[in-house]
């Protein structure tokens, strides 16, 4: 392969990255704008960050978002892991194909339909819309993502590990908690993180299933933007981007370091 920097390569990379990141960069820059007009640069300032933290409405929404995210991600992880286990382990039960299709359907289901159907359900059973229904809805749609992530790990899981544990005297439940769970834990954690991320940035389903007093940050931002974008919103988004970026970078650094360590260990082992 020719790895040199041809003009074509450079152009492609610049265009690609510009397409992806230019809007974000603009948003970050304008969050430090002195002017109240979003698209006119009026000098550097951090005043919008200060006013953001004084905006009780936005702060309440952020708090709701985090609570919903934590609770729904955790419950979705438990349910999703159980679904993944059932689908990979009990391969011969009747209707398995149908069941696995049904678990993954929400992945491709338009959010509007998921949201609307959940709303109809909540109304039908007479549940008051609010924090509880919001959390339920988030669990519903993020569970299948967890199931996919965990299932892909379980497919490559060496079943003889469990057999070895049982052979050495561990009953099935102990085997699960001492062997299976620790081995698939990284996949479960990524599943949780995925579910959390999906939950904190969901707008459509939240709009359908939320009620008074349970407005999430995306909903709040969206409703404010309809009244005109304020630099405050830019600041809020910049903080969100910062948190996500730090998380992603930290995770990849940890992974990278672990990979390097592992390689080094393996080479050392080969040398004896």
């Amino acid at each position: 392969m020719n790895a040199s920097w041809s003009r074509f390569n450079i152009t492609a990379i610049v265009l690609g990255f510009a397409f992806l990141y230019l809007p974000i960069v603009l948003l970050v820059i304008f969050s430090f704008n002195e002017s109240k007009l979003v698209t006119v640069w009026g000098g550097f300032s951090t005043k919008w960050y200060v006013s953001l933290f004084n905006n009780q409405g936005l702060m309440d929404a952020a708090w709701v978002t985090i609570r919903v995210g934590l609770v729904s991600a955790t419950l979705a992880t438990v349910l999703g892991t159980l679904a993944a286990l059932a689908l990979t382990r009990y391969t011969r039960f009747r209707g398995r194909v149908l069941f696995s299709g049904m678990v993954f359907a929400p992945l491709v289901m338009p959010e509007v339909i998921t949201g609307l159907s959940l709303l109809l359900l909540f109304v039908a059973v007479g549940l008051d819309r609010g924090f509880f229904t919001l959390t339920l809805a988030h669990i519903t749609f993020s569970m299948c993502f967890v199931a996919v992530v965990v299932q892909s790990r379980l497919v490559t899981f060496d079943r003889s590990l469990e057999e070895a544990a049982m052979d050495l005297g561990a009953p099935p439940v102990k085997t699960f908690f001492q062997i299976t769970l620790p081995v698939i834990l990284p996949a479960i954690i990524s599943g949780w993180m995925l579910a959390f991320t999906l939950s904190i940035d969901d707008l459509v389903i939240s709009s359908f299933t939320s009620g008074p007093g349970a407005t999430t940050l995306p909903m709040k931002i969206y409703s404010q933007v309809r009244l005109g974008v304020t630099p405050e919103i830019n600041a809020a988004c910049t903080i969100l981007i910062g948190i996500v970026a730090i998380g992603v970078i930290a995770a990849s650094l940890v992974n990278k370091r672990r990979e390097v360590q592992r390689l080094r260990d393996e080479q050392a082992a080969q040398r004896g």
Partner: protein, 379 residues
Amino acid sequence: MKSLGNIRREFAPWNQPDAKPYIQFKNVTKRFGDFTAVNNLSLSIYEREFFALLGASGCGKSTLLRMLAGFEEPTSGQILLDGQDLRGIPPYRRPVNMMFQSYALFPHMTVEQNIGFGLKQDGMAKADIDTRVAEMLKLVKLSQFAKRKPHQLSGGQRQRVALARAVAKRPKVLLLDEPLGALDKKLREETQFELMDLQQTLGLTFVVVTHDQEEAMTMADRIAILDKGEVMQVATPAEVYEAPGSRFVADFVGNINMFEGKVAERDGAGATIASANGVTIRTANAGDAPAGTEVTFAIRPEKIKVSSKKPEGGDNVLEGEVYDIAYLGDMTIFHVQLGNGQVVKASSLNATRGTEDPLSWDDKAWISFRNDAGVVLTR
């Protein structure tokens, strides 16, 4: 009858009529859907025996092992261990331990924790576990690796951790599934002897599954040769090699030349065999095959002598031409084509450097063998 092979065996409970088998398979059948993995199989294994299940892949040997361990239940039949019926006893309550082909070391635990895992499940006191683990580590010479994780070990070291973990609980029976399959040739040979020593030291019963006949021959007291879920022969390595019970066993173990033919004439214990392609063979032991029976005369390559000159006298002398030569260093294998077109393999040990009687391709050659060198097979 003289002893087969050159090993004198003092341990041979299978020859004692009053010896009680330790493990018994009684008419065991195992089906997976339409596929019959084990077919009405009966087998006895004795205490402290090193027993090998040998066969090609899919012959049911691993299924037998997994039924002993408790991962599979027989479809019908009975498995007894020390007189106790194992049916319905889950793997975690069976007094057997298994060493897995993939080793199945727990990746998130250190070597120490791996070895101590089974002891912990038994609720052994921490101090006792530590003592036993240290003892096991010493046994497999891995004491300085106690704190390492499995991925920090070489293949040979992992194999020894798996072994130490499987014997740490002092099981009644140790099951080994292709224990040396993942090692390279040199390491495998060394490890074979280590395994045998370990078995002697611990006084355990070993049941090993292997597809490698050399491995089975080296290590086992007795070998069961399996094919399509059935036992073809159970015997000591020497018996399996020198007195195979059937054409399948003769062909499966080692190299062999086969002459299809009929018993032309009986002469006491011996007989004259007329092969279908016109060779007459005199043998001193033809079993109980009466004259006229279709038989196969089978003879191992190393029992056939090749020479460029016609040997004086001798029981069986056949003329041919050198068709192919394989020089292996320690020995040379000659493929000699007889007048009737059949190719006979004869190997000669290169006991000295160079030979008085060098043979080349297409040379005229005589093969000769004694009348007690081959076996007559009726099955």
